[in-house]
């Protein structure tokens, strides 16, 4: 076996060792992430919680601020995505209704009416 072949084998073994260490021995641990990185089902549940809390406080600005944590798109889009996911996964009808209500309310939201909070 030539020296170059051995060298390449060493490189490959080294890379394999690095990957084994990174994926098996000491895999990535998710810490200190933001809600935007949540899995889609958790995001949908998050939006559902926003919808539930909106039914209590009727504070659209607060709902928008909460939704902003799970995505940078428009609040209506975030609610729509959650509703679509909920539809596809056959959420209970009252949950769909809540998401629907939140989406409808967000259509009336005007950011210019928001009073900035300190």
């Amino acid at each position: 076996m030539s020296r170059w072949t051995k060298f390449l084998i060493a490189v490959i073994l080294g890379a394999a060792a690095g990957l084994f260490y990174g994926w098996v021995v000491n895999p990535v641990e998710y810490v200190d992430i933001a809600p935007v990185s949540l899995r889609v089902d958790y995001k949908t549940d998050y939006v559902l919680m926003v919808a539930e809390s909106y039914q209590v406080d009727h504070d659209l600005g607060l709902a928008v601020r909460r939704l902003a944590l799970v995505g940078s798109s428009a609040p209506t889009d975030i609610a729509a995505n959650a509703l679509n996911y909920a539809l596809q996964h056959e959420y209970a009808s009252q949950d769909l209704s809540l998401l629907q209500s939140l989406g409808e309310a967000l259509l009336t939201w005007n950011p210019n009416q928001e009073i900035p909070t300190p």
């Binding site: 020296r3 051995k6 060298f7 084998i9 060493a10 490959i12 073994l13 080294g14 890379a15 394999a16 060792a17 690095g18 990957l19 990174g22 990535v28 641990e29 998710y30 810490v31 200190d32 992430i33 933001a34 809600p35 990185s37 949540l38 899995r39 889609v40 958790y42 549940d45 998050y46 559902l48 919680m49 926003v50 539930e52 809390s53 039914q55 209590v56 406080d57 009727h58 909460r66 944590l69 209506t76 889009d77 609610a79 729509a80 995505n81 509703l83 679509n84 539809l87 209970a92 009808s93 009252q94 769909l96 209704s97 809540l98 629907q100 209500s101 989406g103 409808e104 259509l107 009336t108």
Partner: protein, 295 residues
């Protein structure tokens, strides 16, 4: 002969290059992207937001099992205690009263306390909201409501909209749990006032323990202590290691205090630091222990 003198260092060089390439690839070319993460990986402040949201949602649904499931995703060691402590932090930080109240109620419910009163909730109907589909042109969605074993809300169609989802009415049933439900809104009453002599407690305290009708400690209850020319407020739950319904106040000797709760009830007056006598006839300050209960 010349090659043999170089030894096998080239193999180590190759391995180092391989590892370096792997790290460069994983850190620079294709770094880790945090996606599909679970809630327990959230940063601490986002976890606080998450708990507050779970509590706010619980106020609407009264679904304790769902709230427990959601909180379990955070993998907190002591869920009720964590909520109570967050409620106290929120109170101290001047967070909105609704948030503090929601956290306190959920903490209490998890400890076996009350369920939220949802009778006043009135979901509203506004403009038609059509979620976008995969295509560029939104199309109306027709949804057939499906029965779910977890369904607890009585729904009835009250309006016709593009999306055919039954709109909820004010009628609502909380899920059946084994959680005791004390009288809603009943003020706490003073059950017992007791002088406690503890030689290991050098300061004279007014100690307050508040329990609901089920005998469970109640956090986040505001207690008002007044004396001639002054008044102070403190809250239960600041020392969850003792009890979620516990709070105390350090008395100044010779000052006469009165205690009452902000939600009403009778005032306990004429509380002043009292002395206790140890076995060796030495004297030390005792504490007043007041127990408030919800009838």
């Amino acid at each position: 002969m010349k090659q043999d003198r170089r030894g096998s260092w080239y193999l180590l060089t190759g391995a180092v290059l391989g590892v370096s390439f792997g790290l460069f690839y994983s850190w620079v070319i294709s770094p880790v992207k945090y996606v599909d993460a679970p809630p327990y990986a959230l940063r601490a402040d986002f976890k606080d937001d998450y708990r507050a949201l779970v509590a706010a949602a619980y106020l609407y649904s009264g679904d304790l099992l769902r709230a427990q499931d959601r909180l379990a995703q955070l993998k907190d060691d002591e869920t009720a205690q964590t909520l109570a402590m967050q409620a106290q932090r929120a109170l101290a930080e001047g967070r909105p009263e609704e948030e503090v109240r929601a956290l306190g109620i959920l903490a209490m419910a998890l400890g076996g306390g009350v369920m939220p009163d949802t009778s006043s909730l009135t979901p509203t109907q506004a403009a038609t909201f059509i979620p976008p589909t995969s295509g560029s042109t939104p199309t109306p969605l027709l949804i057939e409501p499906t029965a779910s074993p977890t369904m607890t809300m009585q729904t009835s169609p009250t309006s016709q909209s593009t999306v055919n989802i039954p709109q909820s009415t004010t009628s609502y049933q909380t899920p059946q749990t084994e959680t005791p439900t004390p009288t809603q809104g009943a003020p706490f009453v003073l059950q017992e006032t007791q002088l406690v002599c503890n030689i290991n407690q050098p300061e004279p305290l007014i100690q307050v323990e508040i329990k609901d009708a089920a005998g469970q400690p109640v956090p986040s209850v505001e207690v008002v202590v007044a004396w001639d020319g002054g008044e102070d407020h403190f809250f239960t739950g600041l020392k969850p290691e003792l009890s979620l319904g516990y709070a105390d106040f350090v008395m100044t000797p010779l000052v006469v205090y009165s205690i009452h709760l902000t939600d009403g009830g009778k005032t306990a007056g004429d509380l002043t630091a009292a002395e206790c006598v140890a076995d060796d006839d030495s004297r030390y300050w005792g504490s007043w222990f007041l127990t408030f209960v919800q009838p």
